[in-house]
Symmetry: C2
């Protein structure tokens, strides 16, 4: 990733800055990339593919199965929100990271950091929610750990889930396999998780309650693979939303992704909330939506499979060779514009 | 584990208590067992072996390798202490949990929850320390995640490490395989990690600096397996120390473990500090010590292997059938006493 803009002088690697961590380091924009690219990869990566996306492929033994391995910590605030809670979010988020590797999610671990004084009734609800989400996603939670910190050193409960899955994709699924001509397919409407969290946090009374899209994506991904679709790259559209996910892919693949704004579904409720709040739904977090890039002649088969899971799945764009620079271009009724990576934090602690 | 005392009326399952989380829920005594036994296992376990020890065995496919999978969160305070820091602790702790399953540690994930305002220089030191510890333990850190929480909602950085290893033990390694006649072997002196942390935290100026024993144990475990030793059970002696680890094993195996106090090595510095602080070194945490239970005729071979890694390794006791009740009995010069599970928290945030 030598072309990554995140190490340019405009955004120095944090290790060189001698500064302090900002909330934006946890968001979906430039700063967290600086943290991963500037600190994690140089120090920890021992193979080129390490830390390049939200999961790793494990080669356990030459004749054995290929495994996917991923981890995520969840610090969402509030813990309970319309459409989910930190428990279902933690299970679905890690299930989805495995699915995006082309893997069948199989086993999860749970690590809890609990604040002293947290209600055991609330903790029970979180754990029951994890159980239900694991059941719905056909994964087993097999091991766990709890730590307790003093009152005022946490915020209720923070959850880490790590996961192991069995890779079912016959070819590697990663940004560098994206090719000019590929179709970009979106699995449903966007922006619901971020707006649901914000509404719950700020007690905003929108006309209709917006619920998070928090859901497992493994069924749709396994459906694609079973139907013989070859996903070149898949991405669940969490922190930073659709725009950030696609910009990352375009830059890693050194291609231009052209999107048709009219094809990108945003519900009226989310659109109205975004207008009031001054947010662009393209950058708002989702927790049950993904984009998949497939060869053009696989696109209609892929859409048919994905519509079994959400009838709103649709082709939203296509890939071209990067002429001047890689990136994402959005065609609107009035013309077109290039989408930029956010430089700050849109919504902290969204997941 | 229907005989577990942790669900008895004297220590009700937390779910039934309607109360709040206490610091002691994070320690090495009765309360955290209540949390795991009372909440986690009933809600999450789908197989009898789930959540019975610090790791799970994954059956990936019938002809494939057997894997161990484990997770731990680290909230140690202070982050840097003599002999280690939260980074080396997190790597070695998870390496050791895998080793205790009879597995060769292979891959780790890292999840960080960072407090806003935390120094990037300190974060770099933690990550460099993780890199060095991973190198020393021959594991690869392959995937990671960072979240940032507001100032005052964390404490510098909390680290989760999860790990995957390849099981090398030919037979299952677990408490229920412990048999009367087995020898108990301890890998070195005890109590150093807990005292090092407490001294660093309270700025206690002991005559000689006590350093943590934080270290990887996989080399010694793989050495035992290569030498043909059959470990029936292994346990790294973290929160709750040697006593708690052995009490858990004795209760799960329904046996009596007899220890010879004279064989259990405690350095003069640790013994002196424990006397001043009113602590029993048998209950103080270690981060680089383990106990292994092996058939009596494997004991001398096992000790010989373990002395290649620490010349202080020694047989400290043996297993007998439980007569009246399972538990751990300590023979001292003056007589003998039964060791009890701690009911509270000896040292919070020790790991």
């Amino acid at each position: 990733m030598s072309e990554s803009p995140f190490l340019s002088p405009a955004c120095p690697a944090p290790a060189a800055a001698g500064g302090a961590i900002e909330l934006a380091h946890g968001g979906g924009g430039r700063l967290p990339h600086g943290l991963i690219e500037g600190l994690f990869r140089p120090a920890l990566a021992t193979a080129p593919e390490d830390f390049t996306h939200d999961g790793a492929t494990l080669e356990i033994d030459p004749r054995g199965a290929r495994l996917a391995f991923t981890t995520d910590s969840y610090v969402v605030r509030p813990l309970f929100f319309p459409g989910g809670d930190i428990g279902s979010l933690a299970v679905n988020g890690t299930v989805n990271d495995l699915a995006m590797c082309g893997a069948e999610p199989r086993y999860l671990s749970v690590g809890l950091v609990i604040e002293e004084g947290f209600s055991i009734e609330a903790l029970s609800r979180v754990i029951d929610s994890m159980r239900d989400a694991a059941h719905a996603a056909s994964v087993r939670i097999v091991t766990g750990d709890t730590k307790v910190v003093e009152w005022g050193k946490g915020d209720g409960v923070y959850v880490n889930t790590s996961g192991v899955g069995l890779i079912r994709a016959r070819r590697p699924v990663a940004p560098q396999h994206v090719r000019p001509g590929d179709a970009a397919i979106l699995s449903g409407d966007i922006g619901r998780h971020g707006i649901a969290i914000l509404a719950a946090r700020e007690s905003l009374g929108f006309e209709s309650e917006i619920t998070s899209d928090c859901a497992p994506l493994a069924g749709a991904v396994l459906g694609l693979l079973e139907a013989g679709v070859e996903p070149h790259c898949m991405r669940d559209l969490t922190r930073g939303g659709l725009a950030t996910g696609l910009i990352e892919i375009a830059q890693a693949a050194n291609v231009a992704i052209h999107l048709d704004q009219a094809a990108i579904l945003v519900s009226d409720a989310v659109r109205g909330a975004c207008e009031i709040l001054g947010l662009d739904p393209l950058y708002v977090a989702n927790e049950g939506r993904f984009v998949v890039l497939v060869p053009a002649d696989h696109a209609s088969r892929a859409v048919a499979v994905m519509r079994r899971f959400d009838e709103r799945a649709a082709v939203i764009g296509h890939v071209e060779a990067a002429r001047r620079s890689s990136g994402v271009h959005l065609s609107t009724i009035g013309g077109s514009r290039e989408l930029d990576m956010l430089s700050g934090e849109q919504l902290p602690r969204i997941c």
